[in-house]
């Protein structure tokens, strides 16, 4: 019986991108459904009643919510190809730790960069760069966070790369000048088709953020 895989998503979402990358890495065919977050579909509300959020992976009618949980699920179900987590337990713990760090730190810090002005924004930029520098430090001279192969931590972070143009424009700063190694890593990831096809266009993201700022009166 063929697998039925559906992804409920919203194009600019970094979380949705993680699942898209994982599915692409594994070569899994799926139905992509774009949600209107101002008018959430009955399916979304039924499949994620607790959080009512995207992304939701639906595999043979059963929902998997929370992007990193869905990525691990994909890795465990389609385990023959392109492993996302390493096999060594210690390396797995490290991959999970850094993916979790990205979740705990990057989203909130990044949001503060585009959602604030003046002194608040300067402080937000400083905090955001500090977090990126911690990640850069962890990357070191390795091609990917996990070493030679692209994996969980890379997947957890790379989606933010298509948001960098918006952050830099609204924040009036250059991420590359502060974190050149991280940008080099991002460009390396973008050479992978699974990544380049899954990330949103930076101008689409910029327009989306501009729209949100207008709606929230944050210009």
């Amino acid at each position: 019986m063929a697998d039925e895989v559906i992804l409920l998503n919203f194009c600019p979402s970094v979380f949705g991108m993680r699942i898209r990358i994982a599915l692409a890495e594994k070569g899994i065919e799926y139905e992509y459904r774009e949600e209107d977050l101002k008018n959430k579909s009955p399916l979304l509300l039924k499949m994620n009643p607790v959080h009512k959020k995207i992304p939701v992976l639906i595999h043979n009618g059963k929902p998997v919510c929370e992007s990193l949980i869905a990525v691990e699920y994909i890795d465990e179900v389609w385990k023959e190809k392109a492993p996302i987590l390493p096999s060594d337990p210690y390396q797995r713990a490290q991959a999970r730790f850094w993916a979790d760090y990205v979740d705990k730190k990057v989203y909130a810090a990044a949001r503060n960069v585009w959602a604030t002005k003046g002194e608040e924004q300067e402080a937000a930029k400083k905090e955001f760069i500090e977090i990126l520098k911690v990640l850069e430090g962890e990357l070191g001279d390795k091609p990917y966070f996990g070493g030679e192969t692209f994996g969980l931590t890379d997947i957890s972070l790379i989606g933010y790369y298509c948001w960098f143009y918006a952050y830099e424009t609204f924040g009036n700063f250059s991420i590359e000048s502060e974190c050149p190694k991280l940008i080099a890593w991002a460009k390396r990831c973008m050479e992978k088709e699974s990544v380049s096809k899954s990330l949103a266009d930076p101008h689409t993201v910029y327009d989306f953020v501009l729209g949100v700022k207008k709606r929230l009166g944050l210009e």
């Binding site: 949980i69 691990e72 797995r92």
Partner: protein, 231 residues
Amino acid sequence: MSTSDVKLLGGWPSPFVMRARIALNIKSVDYEFLQEKVGEKSELLLKSNPVYKKIPVLIHADKPICESLIIVQYIDEVWTSGPSILPSDPYDRAIARFWAAYIDDKWFPSVRGIALIAEGDEEKKEAVQEVATGLELLEDAFPKCNKGGNFFGGERIGYLDIALGCFLAWLRVTEKLNNVKLLDEAKTPNLCKWAESFCSDAAVKDVMPETDKLLGFAKVLMARFKAPPAN
């Protein structure tokens, strides 16, 4: 492996540390429990967890592992001869992880919110309602996970039992300190029965703090938290 090969940096009151201890007990792993002094962080802790500087930290053959749920998964993956902690089916694993994340991201912060944040009756009532809503969700999830057994993990304690059960002592302390009932047999009968089974389990009994001891500790902590900063 010798005991000194496995060290756990932690403290008896911490529910997050308890998660690691329960997991080690399930696998019958001997370990050295290095308790941090409250209000002070040891050199070893700062060196082993430079990012967050928090307990628990599991140190296995000199390599540190941080974040309680990551530690539990690590223990499950290393000591494979003992009973499994995570379910074997990928979908069941995803569900267990989902609820554990819910507990950490939403539910436990609302428990903490009752004691620490809520000032006045209205705010407190809201915080209590948030905790109750979370428990009702978990009550509903229980029959979907337990496959007829006493635990979320089935016949034996598993990942989600550990993720939730570690908070039971703090839940009782919060009830006593705030004169509220959070775990209510009328509203969440499955969870109440589960809580009893959990607390009497061999892997849990010795590491679950006594409510009165924890209450004493909580009072000291709250006094410190609410005290004006020293000049």
